[in-house]
Symmetry: C2
DNA sequence: ACCTGAACACCGTTCAAGT
DNA sequence: ACCTGAACACCGTTCAAGT
C-alpha cells in the first residue's frame, strides 16, 4: 500500500544516478559499490545485474559528466552576438569550467580513464567547426584542441589516441562517425598521413611545445604593454 | 655468512625507494602496502614503523617526484646562452616534462594530493625570479605560474591555497621561507592585499580567463600568419 | 629498537539460490 | 527476469607479542 516504502525497481539509469549523487556528495573516494547500493536501498551484488563491474560503472559515469559538459558547451545561445571565433570558444570553455566546478571530481575521473569518452568528440567537432568557419586551418584547429584540452576537461592527456583494441569499432561505425563529424575526420586523415610510421597519431612533444610557445609569447606581449594587467 | 641473503635493515628511505620502484614498474594501481613490503622482502606491517599510513607514504612519494622535477628544472646549465627569459622558462618546462614522461603516474599522484608539496615552491621561486629579471612585473609572473601549472606538474589545480590547518606552520618558519623565496613572498603579499575579504588568495576564475586569453590570442595570431605552422 | 602473526573492518566480485 | 546470502580474495591498519 504505502507507495513511499515500495521499493522502486532498479535500472541501469538509477544505478548511474546514484553513483553520480554519491560522487557529488562525498567525492570519488567514498564511491564504493556498497555505498551506491545503500543509496538505492539494495545490496551491492544487485548492481552487477546492471553493470559489469566497478570499472565500467566509472566509465559510464565519465561519459555522463563529459556529456553534461558537451551539452553546456553546445548550447546554441553561446554563439549569439559573438564578435569572433575566439569569443565563441571562450564562452564554451567557461561553460565547461562551470560544469567542472559543479563536479570537482570530474577531472580526476576523466584523467583516470584509459580513453576519452566518445561524448567528448561532439564537443571537439563543434570547436573545430567554429575555428575553421572563423578562418583557421584544420591543422591549427587541431593544435588548438590539444592546447585547450586542460581548459575543457581539466587535465592534460592524450585525447586522440586509439583505444586499446582497434578491432572493436567496425568500418560502418567508422564511416558513420566520419559523416557525423566531418572536421574531426579531416583532422584524423591529415594526422594519419603526416605521422605514417610514427608511434602515435599526434606528436605530443610538438603539441606541448606549441602550447608552451603560445603561453610564453602571450606573456611576453603582456610584459610590453603592462597597462591591461595589474 | 652469505651477504646476499642477509636482510638489509629497513629504513624510511628504502621504503620510499621501493614505493617509487613499484609505481614506475606497474603504476599507482598496484601500489599497495603489501606489494611494497614484498619488494623489500618484509611484511606489510613493518612499513608502519617508518610511515604513518599509506596516505603519508603517497605524500612522501609526491614530494620525491616533485623534488626530481625541481632538480631537473633548476639545473644552472639551462640558463646558458638563453636569448630570453622565455627560453629559460621553456627549457625548464621541457625538463619538467621529461621527468613526467619517466614517471607517467606523477600528474595523477600530484593532483590527488590535497596540497602541492613544499618542494614545488623552489621551482616557482626560480621561475618568478627569471621572469622578473627579464622585465616582467611580479603580478604578471604570478599569473604565469598559474598559466604554466599544467605544463610543469601535468595538471591544473589550486597551487597557492593554504593547507587545511594554518597553524601548523610557525611564524619563524614563515619568515625563513620568505627569506629563502623573496619573490614568492612578494607575490603572496600583493595577492593577500588584493584579496582581502575574498575566499581564496587567488582569483581562480580570473586566472582561468587569463590563460584562456593567452591561448586564444596566440591561436588568432597564428591564423593571420599561417606560414609558421602547417 | 625493530619486526611480525593474528585479527578486524572494508572492499570488489562470484555464484548458487531464492522470488 | 531480477535480487540476495554466503563466501572468497584482497586491502589498510592495529596491537600485542616476539627478537
Amino acid at each position: 500500500m504505502p507507495a513511499r516504502t515500495t521499493k522502486e525497481a532498479l535500472s541501469r539509469e538509477r544505478v548511474l544516478d546514484a553513483a553520480l549523487a554519491v560522487a557529488d556528495l562525498d567525492g570519488l573516494g567514498t564511491l564504493t559499490m556498497r555505498r551506491v547500493a545503500e543509496e538505492l536501498d539494495c545490496e551491492a551484488m544487485s548492481l552487477y545485474y546492471y553493470v559489469r563491474d566497478k570499472e565500467s560503472l566509472l566509465a559510464a559515469l565519465t561519459e555522463a559528466v563529459v556529456g553534461e559538459i558537451c551539452e553546456s558547451c553546445l548550447d546554441p545561445s553561446l554563439q549569439e552576438g559573438a564578435a569572433d571565433w575566439r569569443e565563441v570558444v571562450k564562452r564554451r570553455c567557461l561553460a565547461a569550467r562551470e560544469v567542472m566546478l559543479r563536479h570537482p571530481w570530474a577531472p580526476h575521473l576523466v584523467a583516470s580513464q584509459p580513453t576519452a569518452p566518445s561524448t567528448a568528440y561532439a564537443l571537439f567537432e563543434a570547436l573545430v567547426a567554429t575555428m575553421v568557419d572563423g578562418g583557421c586551418s584544420h591543422s591549427l584547429a587541431h593544435r588548438a584542441i590539444h592546447s585547450l584540452g586542460s581548459m575543457l576537461l581539466g587535465f592534460t592527456q592524450e585525447l586522440f589516441e586509439p583505444e586499446a583494441g582497434d578491432g572493436d569499432i567496425s568500418m560502418e561505425e567508422m564511416e558513420a562517425l566520419a559523416l557525423a563529424m566531418p572536421h574531426l575526420a579531416k583532422i584524423a586523415e591529415v594526422a594519419a598521413h603526416e605521422s605514417k610510421g610514427a608511434l602515435s597519431m599526434c606528436d605530443t612533444q610538438a603539441e606541448f611545445e606549441f602550447t608552451l610557445g603560445l603561453i610564453l609569447d602571450g606573456l611576453e606581449a603582456h610584459r610590453c604593454e603592462p597597462d591591461s594587467a595589474h
